[in-house]
Symmetry: C2
Amino acid sequence: MSQPPAHARDELAHSLLDHLECSATGETFPADGLRNLSPAGEPLLPRYRLGPHVPRPPHRGPGGMWRYAALLPHRGTVVTLGEGWTPLLPAPRLGAQLGLPLLWVKDESQNPTASFKARGIATAVTMAKALGVIRLAIPTAGHAGGALAAYGARAGIAVEVFMPRDTPEAFQLEARLHGAQVHLVDGLISECGKLVAAGAAQGRWFDCSTFKEPYRVEGKKTMGYELWEQMGGQLPDAILYPTGGGTGLIGMWKAFEELAQLGWHTGQRPRMVAVQVAGCAPVVRAFQEGAARTRFWDEATTLAYGLRVPKPLADALILRALRESAGTAVAVAELEMLAGMHELAASEGISSGPETGAVVAAAAQLARAGWLTPQQTVVLFNTGSQTKYPDAARAALQRAHAP
Amino acid sequence: MSQPPAHARDELAHSLLDHLECSATGETFPADGLRNLSPAGEPLLPRYRLGPHVPRPPHRGPGGMWRYAALLPHRGTVVTLGEGWTPLLPAPRLGAQLGLPLLWVKDESQNPTASFKARGIATAVTMAKALGVIRLAIPTAGHAGGALAAYGARAGIAVEVFMPRDTPEAFQLEARLHGAQVHLVDGLISECGKLVAAGAAQGRWFDCSTFKEPYRVEGKKTMGYELWEQMGGQLPDAILYPTGGGTGLIGMWKAFEELAQLGWHTGQRPRMVAVQVAGCAPVVRAFQEGAARTRFWDEATTLAYGLRVPKPLADALILRALRESAGTAVAVAELEMLAGMHELAASEGISSGPETGAVVAAAAQLARAGWLTPQQTVVLFNTGSQTKYPDAARAALQRAHAP
């Protein structure tokens, strides 16, 4: 047979993308070319022609997150590795331990490249390809660099990845196997970001940093749409999300706003919880201080490399989502995080990185404090697989066997 | 909200499982208790009440491979981590290089525990749980042990994993984090198998070895059903599959037979290709010799740990499927395998283990020989992610940069 598979024949819905909007000033810009930050130096957010005229997502469309193609940026073709539509798994055993019987885990580790980063990188590379980009660069704590390398290879776009020198080898190997140029940097992701910005200013590549690139958040927002659809048109009471750059948290909050604009979900929205670790908790500090932005976190240190972001660029949007949703921000101790990672694996069979371990520990903390209650439906995000973090796995096992 | 998500409310189809049949003698046995091999010492195959009365799979059923629940073993509840319904990805760039423009990759690395093993272990643990098993043991090259540890944790069943001492640490860490007892064995998977069999004979656990356990093949067969459905009710001309224990190859061949019995697909079936490596190729040798069974492969050695199976238990079924399908068996050199793994990652953005690299190399070999032609639709199986094989990744990169 020579006919393409069914899912390739399924028509991709036309994108309703209309324009880009500065997240700080509201100023609008056409979505017709390459853009990074707004003139105000703030993230741009894509806006769509939304309303009750938009049909609900099809049940026979393309697979994965592209079932929401109308609400995503693209120009008729997409760069995809099958990302999205990850399972929402009940977690009854862990839930019983935590006193949260209605506990669920959204398992993003089952994405291509084994993490949630695949979603945002898929939309970013789809638009980069459509707009003629030939070289992309990214600062990364690990997962995003691997994902950009993979999707760049898929699209035929050259990729340069900048990561801290102490990033686990697994992330380096992954990016290099996909043909990316890997630069090991003395410093954290913030230093990497400066090098990428400098090269972009010289015209060497397009800067694909979190929120300097306006479309990554769009892929991430599909996590919110999927929760709504997988829960039968409802939303949970609370969402706990490991927060480094915060794209997923902001993206889901944007999805819930869009669901309301579409008339698909007009009820209560979830309380959003940003989870960080004691060794790097700029969002928690700013939230507790009542500040609108974070301050740089000095000497950030944790095995949860994805949370080692000393000052997220979109901190204002993160903090706004937490406050608008009546949510909160929680930092957990490094050892609690490792215990949480172990607990999720041992009680539910779900493999995760340490970032997710922090979320498990945060759920326990919030349940003890009564902030989460047994009547509430709670969703934890597992943002990536354990397999790229052998050092965290070893530490978790050692902790468990310590006298 | 306290209602369970939509997919949990979707009704699981009643299983049409009828009995077990000895794959060598045809003798039948009730499917009502724990069984390993038949009295003839051969694998048992589950048989169902199939016919045109069976409705086609629903488009609003449970997610993943359980959309085929009627054709799978279960007793009304399943042990699941969301396995199956993995993407079937076009591979146009790699296809152009190989002269196979209709090339596809079925990406099993997007399963829970990052490999195809999740499918078979899900059905095995589902039945073990239904039949009251409290401890399972398995000999493994790596992936299956990690998967059994995860699904055992999910089900609340204790797990003992036996793996060769030189298995990459990633597999050990994975199994231990899921709470399994890991035994490192001086020897190959065949030695591990003997230890598991001895403990089972003493009543210490149920033996979950490939094909000694009759339900693993059922999960694996869903790869065949999915190909058929994802290709819009058609099947490819050829399937290339990395063959260690051979469960997937046998399972898919069984699925195609069942599709015919169901009247869902009565046309041509794919040619099945077993791919092995030069360092351990018992199936290729037996196929070339015209033998009905394999002989033990001495001093098996390869970085593709999943292919380091010196004598597959179900060799007769593997060889029968190859011959009935007018297929073939191909061994590739270790360096070609590493190059294939690198090529797939760099040209298509698909992360794979070395076993899949062997499949890429075999496709190139068969295309050069004219056994595969540009008019044919060819599916390569990516059985697992690269992330658990840092040594193979390092070797592939070194090879590429060698002078």
